[in-house]
């Protein structure tokens, strides 16, 4: 009896310790970046573009614009595709009796699983070969957004699938039994109930685009100028951190940019929390 109690206490202590350690490491990383980086941050830092060259002087305005531009463009491509694919896989795929379609669906599911685990640089290389070179989009927001779409589509498809599966079948039955069509049922009953999960996937994808580096290194180029069109090259904030750290002497600026980046990611996570709480209320 006592032995069991000791075992339990040991187990709980170990869990507490791991939990505490995780939080500590996270606080240390974020704290280090923010404390070290904060000295460099002022309004000017946000409002001026990098000056380029080895000095690494200047701010990050153009990289913020490039990041926002790229996130929006990617989501414009990826959201409709990913959500539609998720809807198809959950709501329609199993009702199609054709052997060929069934095989295709199995293959698509396998594809989604695999794509979700592919390292982002592979999508980068693919994007470089197809969009940058073959299709002559060059290093541009467009090329990067298309490569980014390949990267986040599995995320959106999977979160959409999970969200749709979580909608009780009784909602669908009730709607169909009233004479609603299948699409009406999905549009008016199923999707509104799943919107929390689906939007979580979209915000997660935005976070992915903000934080990925390698894939955009080979598709977006690295121009520090403010992108003005879909065909402009650019650098996202994450990419800028990489350039500053590796190719300039301004390590402090890299930390400052990283601090802004970290805050942005924290903000995105807050948005996920708030959106899901607001939508499920």
């Amino acid at each position: 009896m006592i032995q069991r109690k000791i075992k339990q206490n040991l187990a709980f202590s170990a869990m507490w310790l791991s939990c505490g350690l995780t939080v500590l490491i996270m606080l240390f990383v974020i704290g280090y970046v923010i404390i070290k980086g904060f000295g460099q941050i002022d309004l000017e830092f946000f409002l001026t573009p990098p000056r380029g060259g080895l000095s690494g002087e200047g701010g990050i305005s153009s990289t913020i614009v490039a990041t926002v531009y790229l996130v929006i463009t990617t989501l414009v491509f990826a959201t409709p595709l990913g959500v539609s694919a998720g809807i198809f896989l959950v709501e329609y795929a199993d009702n199609i009796k054709s052997r060929f379609v069934q095989k295709l669906v199995v293959f698509a599911r396998f594809g989604v699983e695999t794509l979700a685990g592919v390292p982002s640089i592979i999508f980068g290389l693919f994007g470089y070969a197809l969009f940058v070179t073959s299709l002559h989009f060059g290093f541009s927001i467009l090329s990067a957004a298309l490569a980014g779409t390949c990267l986040v589509i599995p995320v959106i498809i999977r979160t959409t699938e999970e969200a749709l599966k979580a909608v009780p079948n009784s909602y669908r039955e009730a709607s169909l039994a009233m004479g609603a069509g299948k699409w009406e049922t999905i549009w008016k009953v199923v999707l509104p109930s799943a919107i929390t999960g689906i939007s979580t996937g979209i915000v997660l994808s935005a976070g992915r685009i903000v934080s990925e580096t390698a894939i955009f290194y080979v598709t977006l180029g690295g121009s520090y100028r403010t992108p003005t069109s879909l065909m402009s090259s650019g650098r996202t904030m994450a990419l800028h951190v990489y350039y500053l750290a590796m190719e300039t002497r301004a390590f402090d600026k890299a930390l400052a940019t990283a601090a802004v980046l970290v805050l942005l990611i924290v903000l995105l996570n807050l948005v996920i929390n708030i959106v899901s709480r607001w939508l499920s209320a």
């Binding site: 199993d94 909602y171 039955e173 009730a174 709607s175 169909l176 009233m178 004479g179 609603a180 008016k188």
Partner: protein, 256 residues
């Protein structure tokens, strides 16, 4: 003895894949009466009631033989949307949508094309009144349907079904998830509703069948586990003087 029904099945069989769930059912559902379908678990009660509005179509491996007529027309030769508008359904567990009370009841009329706000409001009020729920919710129509109790939710689901003005209401064990007081309210409601509607109810509860129904259909599985109609007739006769021994055994509680 019975008037010509709005619904009847003629030698109707239902298969799920290779499994025969219902075997050659012929039954005539009398108009403006409550017909109970009773029988032990797994005898095909739910399969039968879900046949009337083609809900079994949702199972991709289901297949039917024989005929079901609604308003004299084969259900498979009429548009499924029109059929389901005519033949409404209330499910075992209350399943309101995660929407407001108003939006739940307005859902049906809206999908059938009614946009006019005052018209919708009138339909919603009438339906909720007919479902004996109006006095409890009239000030809270904008509240989530989930704020209601289980019994209220089920009456809301009945209101939702009434809102598309069906001729028939199918109820698949509508009170099995409810407490006795809520059950009583549903039963009283059914009594009222049969003046305007033809009602079919599946129930596990023989007392309930005896209390509410005018006619009873007794189903039982045969040696291949397919549901067969053993006996159909006025509830009073069936419960006092059943023709078939198996009906008597079931009703007197010897099995099931």
């Amino acid at each position: 003895m019975t008037k010509e029904g709005v619904m009847k099945t003629i030698d109707y069989s239902l298969y799920y894949g290779d499994f025969k769930a219902l075997n050659g059912i012929t039954v005539n559902i009398p108009i403006n009466r409550i017909t109970a379908i009773i029988g032990p678990s797994g005898c095909g009660k739910s399969s039968l009631i879900r046949s009337f509005n083609r809900m079994n179509d949702l199972m991709s491996n289901s297949r039917t033989e024989g005929t079901i007529l609604v308003d004299g027309e084969d259900i498979y030769s009429q548009d499924v949307v029109r059929l389901r508008k005519k033949v409404g359904m209330v499910f075992q567990r209350p399943n309101p949508f995660p929407k407001s009370i108003f939006a739940n009841v307005a859902y049906g009329p809206r999908i059938h094309g009614i946009r006019d706000k005052s018209k919708l409001a009138a339909i919603v009020e009438n339906s909720i009144r007919d479902a004996a729920l109006w006095d409890e919710v009239k000030d809270d129509l904008g509240k989530s349907a989930f704020s209601l109790s289980g019994g209220q939710q089920q009456r809301l689901c009945i209101a939702r079904a009434l809102a598309v003005e069906p001729e028939v209401i199918l109820m698949d064990e509508p009170a099995s998830a409810l407490d006795p007081v809520a059950t009583l309210k549903i039963e009283e409601l059914m009594e009222k509703l049969k003046r305007k509607y033809t009602i079919v109810i599946v129930t596990h509860n023989m007392q309930q069948a005896a209390r509410v129904s005018d006619f009873t259909a007794f189903l039982l599985t045969d040696s291949e586990r397919a549901g067969n109609l053993i006996e159909f007739g006025p509830t009073i006769e069936m419960f006092t003087n059943p023709v078939d021994n198996r009906t008597e055994d079931y009703i007197s509680g010897r099995f099931g």
